[in-house]
C-alpha cells in the first residue's frame, strides 16, 4: 500500500518550475486520496471528502514551494492537519457567533459518536481491532495511524500534529499497552 521508492523519488524531489508539475500532482492525488480521506475521518471530520478536496487544493498551491526537505508524507499530512484545525476554528467561530455555545466542538472531538463510525468500512468496524480504535480519542487514532500505518518517525508525527515528541512516544506506548489489554480482555490472538 505504501508508495514505491520510484514514486517517492518523483514526488519528493525539489520542485522545479516547468518540470512535470502536473504529473507530480496527479501522482500525489492518486497516492494520497484514500490515505487523506482516512486521516480526515480519523480526525472526526463529518465531511471528509470535502476536506480532502480542499487539502488537495492547498497541496496544489503549495507544490511550487515544496523543496524536498523532509518526507513528502510529513508535508502532506501537515497541510491536512492545518486545514482541519482551520476548519474547526471556523466552525467554532460560526457557532459562537450564532450564540450556540452548547454545540461548540472541541478541536479534537468535533463530531458526535453517532458520526464517528464513518471513518472505516462497516465490515472493518465489526473487527475487534476496529472497536478498539473506535474507543481511542481522535488524537490517539491519528497517532496510531501515522506511526503504525505511515510508519512515521516520532519527530515527524510531532511536526505533523504539533504535539511534543515526548508526548507522542508516551501516547504510542499507551496505545500499545491498551491494545494488549484489549486483546487479553476479548481473547483476541
Amino acid at each position: 500500500m505504501h508508495i514505491e521508492d520510484e514514486k517517492i523519488a518523483i514526488i519528493g524531489k525539489p520542485f522545479e518550475p516547468c518540470q512535470d508539475a502536473g504529473e507530480r500532482f496527479f501522482l500525489l492525488w492518486r497516492t494520497y486520496y484514500a490515505r487523506l480521506l482516512t486521516f480526515c475521518r480519523l480526525s472526526g471530520s463529518s465531511d471528509a471528502e470535502d476536506d480532502v478536496q480542499e487539502i488537495f487544493l492547498k497541496i496544489f498551491r503549495g507544490l511550487p514551494a515544496y523543496h524536498g526537505r523532509g518526507r513528502i508524507e510529513s508535508w502532506v499530512y501537515q497541510i491536512a492537519r492545518n486545514h482541519l484545525v482551520d476548519r474547526h476554528r471556523r466552525v467554532k467561530l460560526t457557532t459562537e457567533s450564532a450564540g450556540d455555545m452548547q454545540s461548540v466542538p472541541d478541536p479534537h472531538e468535533s463530531v458526535s459518536r453517532a458520526n464517528d463510525r464513518s471513518w472505516c468500512s462497516r465490515e472493518a468496524d465489526c473487527e475487534p481491532i476496529g472497536r478498539f480504535l473506535q474507543s481511542l480519542n481522535f488524537t490517539d487514532r491519528k497517532i496510531s495511524y501515522l506511526r503504525m500505518y505511515e510508519r512515521m518517525r516520532y519527530r515527524e508525527i510531532s511536526a505533523v500534529l504539533a504535539i511534543p515528541v515526548g508526548t507522542i512516544k508516551y501516547r504510542v506506548s499507551v496505545i500499545r499497552s491498551q491494545y494488549r489489554r484489549f486483546q487479553e480482555a476479548y481473547g483476541e490472538s
Partner: protein, 143 residues
C-alpha cells in the same frame, strides 16, 4: 515491527483499501447531495477524479444565464498546469430547478488539470454536468 503495530497497520490498510474500492465503484454521480456549491464540487470531482474548487459569483458577474459558458478562462499557474475556470450557471439552474431562487448566485468551478488533460477534462466536465442534469430530471419525473 511489533505484533500489535502490525495488526493496527493491517487494519488501516484494509480501511484504506475499502476507500479505494468505494472510490472506484461505478456509482451514479447524482447521489443524494445538497443543493450547494460544495455538493456540485463533489459531484464534479468524483466524476472527473480531479480536484476542483468552487466559488460563488453574483448573478450580474455570471453574465447571461442562458448562455452556457464553460471553462471560460485558462490561466497558467505552472508551465504544464492549467487553472481552468468555468461558469456553470445554466447547468446548475437546470440541475436544481425549483430548488434555487431565480437569480441565485452562479458557481464558478475550477478544475485543476495538466495541459495534456485539458481537452479530455473539458469534455468529461460537460458530459458529467449534462448527465447530472439528465439524472436530476429523471428523478424529478419519477416523483
Amino acid at each position: 515491527m511489533r505484533a500489535e503495530d502490525r495488526k493496527i497497520r493491517d487494519y488501516f490498510a484494509r480501511a484504506i483499501a475499502s476507500v479505494e474500492i468505494e472510490r472506484s465503484s461505478d456509482r451514479p454521480i447524482l447521489g443524494p447531495r445538497r443543493p450547494s456549491a460544495i455538493g456540485i464540487q463533489r459531484v464534479i470531482s468524483k466524476s472527473l477524479r480531479l480536484p476542483v474548487e468552487t466559488r460563488t459569483v453574483s448573478p450580474r458577474q455570471s453574465g447571461n444565464p442562458f448562455v452556457v459558458i464553460l471553462f471560460g478562462a485558462a490561466l497558467s499557474v505552472a508551465a504544464s498546469t492549467l487553472f481552468v475556470v468555468g461558469l456553470l450557471l445554466p447547468l446548475l439552474r437546470a440541475s436544481y430547478a425549483g430548488k434555487e431562487p431565480v437569480g441565485a448566485p452562479a458557481t464558478t468551478i475550477a478544475v485543476y488539470c495538466s495541459a495534456e488533460d485539458l481537452p479530455g477534462a473539458i469534455s468529461r466536465g460537460l458530459e458529467s454536468m449534462s448527465r447530472a442534469v439528465v439524472l436530476r430530471e429523471q428523478k424529478e419525473a419519477a416523483r
